[in-house]
């Protein structure tokens, strides 16, 4: 019973601030629903639904944190987990449905039961790191292209009392999928370089979790990219050995630390990310504001840059070996060599911005492809450098890190959109040149400051949170 209680409280303990925010969200809904002459209970319901969905997201995060095969060896773990799950279900699924039943009757409660179950299961699947949860977007977008005749045929089923039952079945299926994802039958995937971010699900705020299992196709793509990385490393090692020079050393270091920053790695990334950009562009359709969509596509191209700041702590144990190998005259030289090698992520990010923005332009408004590419040519290089600078010294505190990341992301998208509008309204000379000067000015200033700060910070060879040795 104690174990079940611990498990039930785990999601709230790992992110208490998120739990408080969710409680506030639900409470705010309650307050809003009472304001005015005609209280609007649906506002409270909406807020409650969103709050509950976030709670189930937290549950997924908690589950992911303990998802090790060794956990299954704990006595009665599955029973305790089932009990904790039952408690959560009772509090955050059945109880709200009972409230709906009391307020609105049985039919809406039955709908809430099915919809709530599917929503909760989807939330758990999403936060457990599975890419499968993204299929819902394909369904939503696909719904746009369903012929009206089919909708008419489907209407009785969609409005009938059996739909919530389908929701319940879907929930069972999603929970099974989550379990398989968290406790896969095979061996876990081998780790990547902490500074590499080869696929979309590994990117994000503070994502320092181990690799999630890949599909066979994605594995093959990564292997193909890995072969390219190995070849490049060997070629650069032999070149350096033949005639050592600082430039060749930096180039070799880049090949070691950033294995996916080479043509094969780029192609794999563009393919995986391109799907997301294409889905997003198709979802918005032809009426969308192209500047904003291209800004979003640029954000996709730049997301990998945050792995430099987030991945460095996990690279620290390997730095010992690198330190002895490079034999730098001073620690500052060592840090300088490292920080300059990080610039190797820029070509991939910039080229990625060209690929994704062009893709967005072709899917939304093909006539604007040249303007989009011009905007990208002006903005992608300074945006990439500025983003790398902002991510380089990411604070350890997860809230501060999230704030920096959000500011950076919105800064990127906003800058792109503004640049696009300026170019469209004022032309390449009066719109483009000031944009170029401003963004490069910011990027160079930010990079110089961030680089100096990074080099000045003390060098640690210890793994994150490691203290005394034996």
């Amino acid at each position: 019973m104690r174990a079940a209680l611990k498990l039930a409280l785990l999601p709230l303990r790992i992110a208490p601030w998120a739990a408080v925010a969710i409680a506030l969200l639900i409470g705010l809904g309650g307050v809003l629903s009472t304001i005015g002459d005609h209280p609007a209970p649906w506002i409270a319901l909406l807020f409650a639904a969103v709050g509950l969905w976030f709670l189930w997201l937290l549950a997924g995060v908690g589950l992911k944190g303990i998802a090790r095969k060794e956990t299954l060896l704990l006595p009665d773990f599955t029973r305790a987990l089932a009990l904790a799950g039952a408690a959560w279900g009772l509090l955050f699924w059945l109880a709200p449905c009972l409230i709906v039943a009391a307020l609105y009757g049985l039919r809406p409660a039955w709908t809430a039961l099915g919809g709530g179950a599917a929503g909760a299961a989807w939330a758990i699947l999403s936060s457990s790191g599975s890419r499968s949860s993204l299929w819902i977007w394909v369904l939503i977008i696909g719904a746009r292209f369903v012929p009206p005749m089919l909708w008419t045929a489907l209407e009785p089923a969609l409005t009938g009392a059996g739909l919530p039952l389908a929701g319940l079945l879907l929930a069972a299926l999603l929970l099974r999928l989550t379990w398989q994802r968290l406790f896969p039958a095979g061996d876990p995937p081998l780790p990547e370089s902490p500074l590499a971010a080869p696929d979309p699900m590994r990117r994000g705020v503070g994502n320092d979790t181990p690799s999630v299992a890949h599909s066979r196709l994605v594995r093959r793509l990564h292997d193909w990219s890995g072969e390219g990385a190995g070849t490049r490393l060997r070629r650069r090692a032999s070149r350096y050995h033949a005639a050592p020079s600082p430039a060749r050393e930096r180039s070799l270091l880049r090949a070691l630390l950033l294995p996916h920053e080479q043509p094969r790695g780029w192609l794999v990334r563009w393919l995986l990310f391109g799907i997301f950009v294409a889905v997003y562009a198709l979802a918005l359709g032809h009426g969308a504001q192209l500047g904003m969509v291209a800004g979003y596509a640029t954000f996709f191209a730049m997301t990998g840059l945050n792995t430099i700041g987030a991945g460095m702590p996990r690279l620290q144990p390997s730095l010992v070996e690198l330190y002895f190998t490079l034999a730098p005259p001073t620690r500052a030289d060592f840090k300088t060599a490292l920080v300059d090698s990080f610039l190797g992520v820029l070509p991939g990010a910039i080229l990625g911005a060209f690929v994704y923005t062009l893709l967005a332009a072709l899917l939304i408004d093909p006539t604007q492809w040249l303007r989009v590419l011009t905007t990208t040519a002006i903005l992608a290089p300074p945006l990439a450098l500025g983003t790398l600078a902002l991510y380089l010294n990411l604070p350890g505190n997860v809230i501060l890190r999230t704030v920096v990341t959000i500011i950076t992301v919105f800064g990127q998208m906003g800058a792109y959109w503004t640049g696009y509008v300026l170019l469209a309204r004022l032309g390449p000379l009066w719109g483009g040149v000031p944009t170029l000067v401003l963004t490069w000015g910011f990027a160079i200033g930010a990079w110089t400051t961030a680089r100096r700060l990074w080099i000045g910070n003390p060098l640690s060879f210890d793994p994150p949170r490691a203290k005394a040795g034996g």
């Binding site: 780790p191 190995g230 050995h241 070799l252 010992v320 070996e321 034999a327 034996g470």
Partner: protein, 310 residues
């Protein structure tokens, strides 16, 4: 009770007389207010194989990392290969081989790519030795480091550390994960390489038989200090377990000045003594006479000594 420190230096071996490979003076290091190293002094002469012994948590890894400049000191001074272990370091690092306790490096790399990368930086790189060891230890060059077992990773770390023919080799529990065959193999490989003039090995381990096999000098870390530094032969020749026995037994251990350790076991008073210490031997005889006890001396092997002193 027992001694706090024994500053007796080990006689220089193959190196030039009086040359030190490493010296540490007044080292202090704390973690979160807990002192791990406390005014530690230690001299390692050139040309020796030195075994660093100490209990779990005694600070062996911390000491070795401080020696190599990987962990900042709170106080103290370190010299390695004749120069202070502060900046600039440069090529001196290439004269040092280091096998860390846990080999976490570059798990995403394949063995061949890792070795080729490393070799590119070294002027001295014994490719034949690498080939031989990879073959002997059956390390598949195409395998990713993350896919290796802990023992195989340790083998790879040893291959990598030996390949540049280092003048100072620092091994932090290098054989802990190796099977007995690989361990013997490693020692058989290490010895001829490191017995050459000017080569020094600092070897942290719990496996005392390995230190006996390589005839290492011993340095014992206890309470944040090196409390004993002796050649193994000297330890074998001089250190004894002295047992005081009398009819009524002992409830408390009578004090014996100069004893290395003292305890009561089955009503017998047991001491660890340095038989070569004439004053101590005389004090022991006087104590036995005073307590009307008989003295029995028994030899101590290294493991017994470690258990008694650590």
């Amino acid at each position: 009770m027992g001694r706090q420190q024994d500053a007796a230096p080990v006689a220089p071996g193959n190196g030039a007389a009086g040359t030190t490979a490493m010296s540490a003076c007044g080292l202090r290091k704390s973690f979160d207010g807990h002192a791990v190293l406390q005014d530690l002094d230690w001299v390692v002469p050139e040309g020796r194989v030195v075994g660093l012994l100490g209990r779990n948590g005694a600070g062996k890894t911390t000491l070795l990392r401080c020696v190599l400049g990987l962990s900042p000191l709170d106080a103290g001074r370190i010299e390695v290969l004749g120069e202070p272990m502060d900046e600039p370091r440069g090529q001196r690092l290439h004269r040092i081989g280091y096998v860390p306790q846990s080999f976490d490096l570059f798990p995403w790399m394949r063995i061949d790519a890792f070795l080729e990368f490393t070799a590119a930086f070294y002027r001295r790189w014994d490719a034949a030795l690498v080939e031989r060891l990879l073959g002997t230890w059956q390390l598949d060059r195409g395998k990713k480091i993350a896919a290796l077992s802990q023992g195989q990773r340790q083998m790879l770390a040893i291959v990598r550390a030996l390949a540049p023919d280092p003048d100072l080799l620092v091994l932090d529990e290098p054989v802990a994960s190796l099977d007995p065959i690989a361990r013997r193999d490693f020692l058989a490989t290490l010895l001829p390489l490191m017995r050459r003039p000017g080569k020094t090995v600092i070897f942290s381990t719990h496996i005392t038989t390995d230190l006996e096999r390589v005839d290492a000098d011993i340095a014992l870390l206890r309470g944040g200090r090196i409390v004993l530094t002796r050649a193994l032969a000297e330890i074998n020749a001089r250190f004894r377990r002295a047992v005081l026995i009398r009819a009524q037994g002992f409830a408390l251990v009578p004090p014996l000045a100069g004893a290395w350790a003292a305890r009561i076991h089955e009503s017998k008073a047991i001491y660890v003594i340095d038989e070569g210490d004439a004053a101590l031997r005389s004090a022991l005889d006087q104590l036995a006479a005073r307590e009307q006890a008989t003295v029995m001396l028994a030899p101590l092997d290294l493991e017994d000594l470690f258990v008694e002193l650590a």
